[in-house]
Symmetry: D2
């Protein structure tokens, strides 16, 4: 049994979700690694205190710096607003703490690269919260592609559509300002699709995108008679060329009527195809071109023991649905295992930097109406 002493920074919704995952870790993964909830920090001290009380953190504080310098802490968990992710991570690294950070890692690729350089230098372990990659189905798909059984990837089409801004009387929100959120659907939603593309297909060489603002202004929540501008993408499409020669397109609309969690992909390979939607997260469609001609078809494969960590939750077999929350438990397990063993985790700052680089390239491309290379020249 190995204890990992947690210092959580950020006592909002994501802090709560991480905490619930910590509390369920041993329920599903046994006692090998045990998180100890030591301290929770939030600029809103009362919120931190309340979370400590509700979930059993030993202490709370309004000063995150005291947490990253605390000798009793092994791992800093960052769930604060986006702009503070890198600054906190850098301080944590300087103090030799491992870091588990919510996505997005940074405000832009430059900041992400910088944070990654610092954490590399410090020799700490990092993990970033792209929880959809922890789905046993995705681990199975990645292994299936890597096995070569379906040939090589030809084409990736992905989406992340939701309709959370679809109500006609939707008010303005901070996310709609460029200063607060450089991009709209792109960073908030499509970043998850990009993470699946990166995880399953690999590095992107160049992109060409366009953005659309569907509703150009929204009522000021403080004074609904006043309108405020929507400054970033309601809807974004972009084409990609991968380094391995495949092509792809990702589309994401935050006003997509009827789409609730429509994080989907279709991967076409030379010898098969794979189709997935997050709305049915426990299944995937697989087509194998080398099946007998009279019996070819898309097969609905349910998550079963043998796919990723599914057996930790339902050793008895398929059909038992895993939830969104369960993916967070797997993520916490991955992050804490990496920290415990001092081994790099695949979904780390390097990985997250690549996602930021694609996002930056898409934004530049939409601005310049041209193809843009991904990453630093």
């Amino acid at each position: 049994m190995k204890k990992i002493r947690i210092g959580l920074i950020g006592a909002g919704g994501m802090g709560r979700a991480h905490t619930i995952a910590y509390k369920n870790l041993t329920n599903f993964f046994g006692n090998e690694i045990v998180p100890e909830l030591v301290v929770v920090a939030d600029v809103n001290e009362a919120a931190a205190a309340k979370m400590a009380e509700t979930f059993g953190y030993q202490r709370s504080t309004g000063d995150w710096m005291s947490v990253v310098t605390d000798p009793e802490i092994d791992l800093i968990d960052i769930t604060t607003p986006n702009a503070s992710h890198c600054p906190i991570a850098i301080e944590a690294a300087k103090n030799g703490k491992n870091v588990y950070c919510e996505k997005p890692l940074a405000m832009d690729a430059e900041e992400a690269r910088n944070a990654t350089a610092v954490t590399d230098e410090a020799g700490i372990i990092t993990a970033v919260g792209f929880n959809y990659l922890c789905n046993p189905i995705q681990v199975y798909v990645r292994d299936l592609i890597a096995s070569g059984a379906l040939g090589k990837v030809v084409d990736f089409r992905g989406t992340f559509d939701q309709d959370y801004y679809n109500e006609p009387d939707q008010k303005h929100e901070w996310r709609m300002f460029k200063s607060a959120s450089a991009s709209g659907a792109l960073g908030d939603l499509a970043s998850h699709t990009i993470s699946l593309s990166q995880f399953l297909v690999g590095d992107v060489d160049e992109v060409c995108g366009m953005t659309s603002i569907v509703v150009p202004e929204r009522p000021d929540p403080k004074d609904p008679s006043k309108m405020l501008p929507v400054e970033n993408d309601d809807d974004v499409h972009f084409m990609m060329r991968y380094k391995n020669g495949a092509i792809g397109t990702i589309m994401s609309n935050r006003l997509a009527s009827g789409r609730k969690l429509s994080l989907t992909y279709e991967i076409q390979l030379t010898n098969g195809s794979i189709v997935y939607t997050q709305e049915r997260q426990n299944e995937v469609q697989i087509y194998r071109h080398d099946d007998d001609k009279k019996q070819r078809g898309f097969k609905t494969v349910y998550a079963v023991p043998g796919h990723g960590d599914f057996d930790k939750f339902y050793p008895a077999g398929a059909g038992f649905g895993m939830s969104y929350s369960d993916l967070k438990v797997i993520e916490v397990h991955n992050a804490l295992s990496a920290a415990a063993e001092n081994k790099p985790y695949e979904i780390d700052f390097h990985f997250a930097t690549k996602i930021m680089e694609i996002i930056d390239a898409v934004l530049e491309s939409a601005e310049t109406r041209s193809w843009v290379k991904v990453g630093k020249e």
Copy 2:
């Protein structure tokens, strides 16, 4: 905040599932009702001790009787093998403890009726673990039917198919003996379909069924060269006439190739239809006959805030999948709320007795090849 002190009897898989649900209760439902894990009992004392250590029960014991008489316990949770459910429940009732019992309540209807009489007499609260009924989708469906918007029920078709005995080299198991398990697929699987029928449509008047043993003998697990007989139904079908005039059929096969958790129903009403499968537990298909003629069709409705307790898990909206485990959290909440408020819970011993009465009638019907009335004359 109200504390409910738990005495768990049975430290096996279901005991573990209940315990995880207790530990998640406040995560999702807040601090109004808080379970206190006081003691866990199991005839296997070591197993009880291990569970206490792993999950934080204050004490453990090999003697369940000491638990049901323990003045520090408010609620007895029974997850032992089926034959001991009623005996334990009766002792608990006699000691004034509320009871939360795993399904099936009893070995037959007679035993269920007897236990119900005792618990009624004692004035305690009872709850039985038909967890699929806790799905927010089912609560929504029940309310929809009750609203009359779809007219009155005409026909119910239900299944619970799995393929857990489908491997050709499957060994014999205790469940295949009549002495240990009166029925096969009927009690193990179809009982859940019956519970949905009872919950959504109502009382059954009479049944007519047939059973089939697909593989008549299986290798003795202790000596695979020796064959043991399969004594109960691998596959069962039965027709029903409901008291409200509707008809129905339930089918359940424990060797149904490809079916993983195929607990399904189709309810046809005079003014609409409802179709559900547990393999996609976060959605239901609804048809409304009074839609415009050119626009009629089955609509896929995802669980959303407003359906049962969905918002406790995902207040932000639809698409986030709930898991099998989450249903157990809702069940624990329902059972403990009923105990806390001292109000009867809908899924109680009375409800469970009805399920046993239908099962008994189906077995008798299959035996006598005739229609059989449900319940005690």
Copy 3:
């Protein structure tokens, strides 16, 4: 090239459907067998004359007897009301004509057995219009089952639900009287499901059924203020035991809200499963238990060249949908080929008699509330 000279008896909707099929036969199957539209008869002489003119029959008549005795006719096609099917077929047989008859063959099993004896005696070729069996998908499924690749059949569940009587203001129709139509949904709809069961699984040994009248009276179409009784089954369920040991259930409701052409089946075998619905007639779901454990699932197989006569319609490949009408073209091809080669056709009077015997047994079973043996003792 072989010419088959057709005498059509019955100039209604089904007569029209058969005629369109004749006219398309060479379009898809080439010139090997060519139907010649010689004469059309109908008690309504004007209707016969109009059909002759519209579709190019050489002659028309009001006297069907003159057609069955006409030396210029090779095949009698019967699309008249049900009660006249057998009388016409018997006269045709006595005159040495081959017979192609719409379903149902007869009013009851006794009449069907009698007609079959006569046609056998006469040595003519017979064919009956169970057109759904002509679907290339069904031919593929039958061959797949026969190959043994999926093991032996364990369980068959079938339906034929429609909602054609679902409008609240639906008037009374002749079909609702027992004198005109012994059964309701059973003969009109479920007979097709029974034909699939017979074609794919085989002979039924005994049945046990129940029927329900959902709307007990309907307005007289001549005087809507007057109500007329509905005398036969709106909804029917029945259980079956097959001679090969499998069990099954068929359900059929003619007021099933939302079901348009819901002729479906699920066949569970020891080593796989097959799921079909007529509403998506160009595809079938196949599950193979011997697939690799991590890759098992239901596969959607589209009709392709290699399945039955699909290539006659779309040699280029799958995805091109065949229609209901196309199935009738295949049926006509099968019937005329059998006649041309003087070889029995699988879907003949013997086959149709078995369907009638099952229907009779279900009706008797519903009446007597007991299991009933299928066929003549």
Copy 4:
């Protein structure tokens, strides 16, 4: 009754498909308009003669010019190889004949514009064979969008994927040379998606696309030891900005494993969404944002009487599948009705020219790696 005398030019597969449609026209649409099969021409005179004999054309010839000048012909039907479409159409127009031409209208937009100018000048009626637009479902969808009930279009995503070139041993074909076919998947497949986009959403302002050659060389069919280059797109993606402000993306891969006739679209509107796939051509998914919050969902609407010309085929109701061939019957009816009434048909040379202009713009865009305006400046 109005007769239209047909001169068919091109006796290949498409000529056959058109002919079968002519022969079925009166079967489904009655005798108001009756095509008379006068003459069929083909450079291969024997093929023309054979088709005349098989399908009942009065005459055949090897000289198409004699057909376009024939005073006994009302309508010229062009099903020859693509390069001759416009030359023949222009001669037909000069001779005052109406023209019904298979897609694509032309080799490029310039040629299409020229032919359109000539036919406009001649005052004849034109029709082009985008048969998928004749689907009753598409007519319903167009009307639904036009009604405004779903708000305004925000986003269109379309595909046309097939796997016809997916066999590893696929030989080289003429279509793979740029000289014979300027584009690959784009013109052959995506043109249909573009036609749906044009029909349902409207004019495109500018496009930005990319192409990919997946298999760069294929064996020479005459000498498989020799490899020939694949010169045009196996796979194409392109983004669009519509004149009405909507955005869209179309993707088409002719090596898309498992995709048989995957002509699909998803249209997201401000108040609803529409999802379609040609593989299930008799149904469409509709989402209405203004449904009650607890009952929102995608509804599967089957084609029914009231949708386009569905009732001509199946007046009795939904569920009866229409086929690919049936769409051609509707197209023939549309083309001949327009000719008979001397009224322009929506899917005419003007419409087809727009499709060619988009294709040209995509090809230029892929070449120049930039956004390109659609249509002539």
